[in-house]
Amino acid sequence: MSRRSAPEINAGSMADIAFLLLIFFLVATTMDIDTVISRRLPQKTDKINKPDEEFHARNVFEININRNNQMLIEKKEYVQLENLKVKVLEFLDNGGGTGSNNVGNCTYCQGGPDKTVSSEMSDHPNKAIISLRTDRGTSYEMFVAVHDVLGQAYTELRNREAQRLYRVSYEDLIDQKFNDKDNVELDEKIKKIKDLFPEIISEVEPASN
């Protein structure tokens, strides 16, 4: 029995194989992460019980968009997209009365310009409803743009409160949460901020044209 050592395997083609795999993955995959605006649909109508309290008109901010993508707010004023945010902020941050669930007055609301409190705007952020009514002919671009503005308004207010309470912006909290999913402390902070300015957006089914 001769003791022969096993011949060395030629690894010269290893690079070729690896290149082939690399090129396959380059072609078959994408790098972009989807970015979305998330919302929640209301439950099916027959499941909803009658609301306990009627919504007072001052607590509802009505946005109407017609099929020509023109926007009417509170049934009386045409606004452009760029002016919507200020109006929404004023409405949400008004704090003119007591909130629901016995939270009392809104102590952190700053009111409109010059710290004034209007009698036509929301009592408390947790009562403030934004109602969005669209037409079947409204373009999706306009619709998303309005949702974006609403999102920005809520984020701005939440940033302010997060800065005040935790010296960090709300967006940073969300970013931290994305990288550290099981952090309970962060969860609590985010929930607290969200409760201060809950996102209550109601979409009315589009009128048929």
């Binding site: 690894a11 010269g12 290893m14 690079a15 690896a18 290149f19 795999l21 690399l22 993955f25 380059l26 078959a28 995959t29 994408t30 790098m31 992460i33 989807d34 970015t35 979305v36 605006i37 998330s38 919302r39 929640r40 649909l41 209301p42 439950q43 099916k44 669209t134 037409d135 079947r136 002919g137 409204t138 373009s139 999706y140 671009e141 619709f143 998303v144 743009a145 949702h147 974006d148 999102g151 920005q152 809520y154 984020t155 969300i174 994305f178 979409e203 089914e205 589009p206 048929s208 044209n209």
Partner: protein
């Protein structure tokens, strides 16, 4: 002068032994940071609207995507819906979501969301019809896909 004698040496060959390592490293990098291309478009690829207040999708496995866009044939008007890699009707949305729920536990089902990837020019009527279907089967978490514009813009 012998010190400056002309050296008649050839350039040594560059070793390529580490090339596979380098390429494998690249390969693993791409395998980890990218994700599989989902579907081929049967409709004209939707151009997403722009938005600033967007979030990243958290778990791709819990997302069902509905594409809405125009037909590839120029001249045909109206919006088309694409589910997986087929052009579908509004009435197909239910079975599409139900199929995606198969094999998931209740906890996951409650976290599942439906993402609309719709073209800018889509009419809201189409989206509203789909939303109505989604409400019927309690798929209440929805999201509108948008491309992110820079914060300072």
């Amino acid at each position: 002068m012998s010190k400056f004698k002309k050296q008649n040496k050839t350039v040594p060959q560059i070793s390529t032994a580490s090339l596979p390592d380098v390429v494998f490293m690249l390969l693993f990098f791409f395998m980890t940071v990218t994700s599989m291309r989902e579907t081929e478009f049967k409709i004209k690829e939707p151009i997403l609207p722009n938005a600033k207040s967007v979030k990243k999708v958290e778990d791709k496995n819990l997302v069902s995507t509905i594409y809405i866009g125009k037909s590839v044939n120029e001249g045909t008007s109206g919006d088309l819906i694409q589910l997986n890699d087929k052009i579908a009707q509004v009435s197909d949305v239910r079975s599409f979501i139900m199929l995606n729920r198969v094999g998931k536990n209740d906890d996951d089902i409650s976290r599942m969301s439906t993402v609309f990837k719709a073209d800018k020019g889509t009419k809201l009527g189409t989206v509203a019809d789909i939303k109505k279907e989604l409400r019927e089967i309690d798929a209440l978490k929805i999201a509108y896909a948008a491309s992110q514009t820079r914060k300072d813009q």
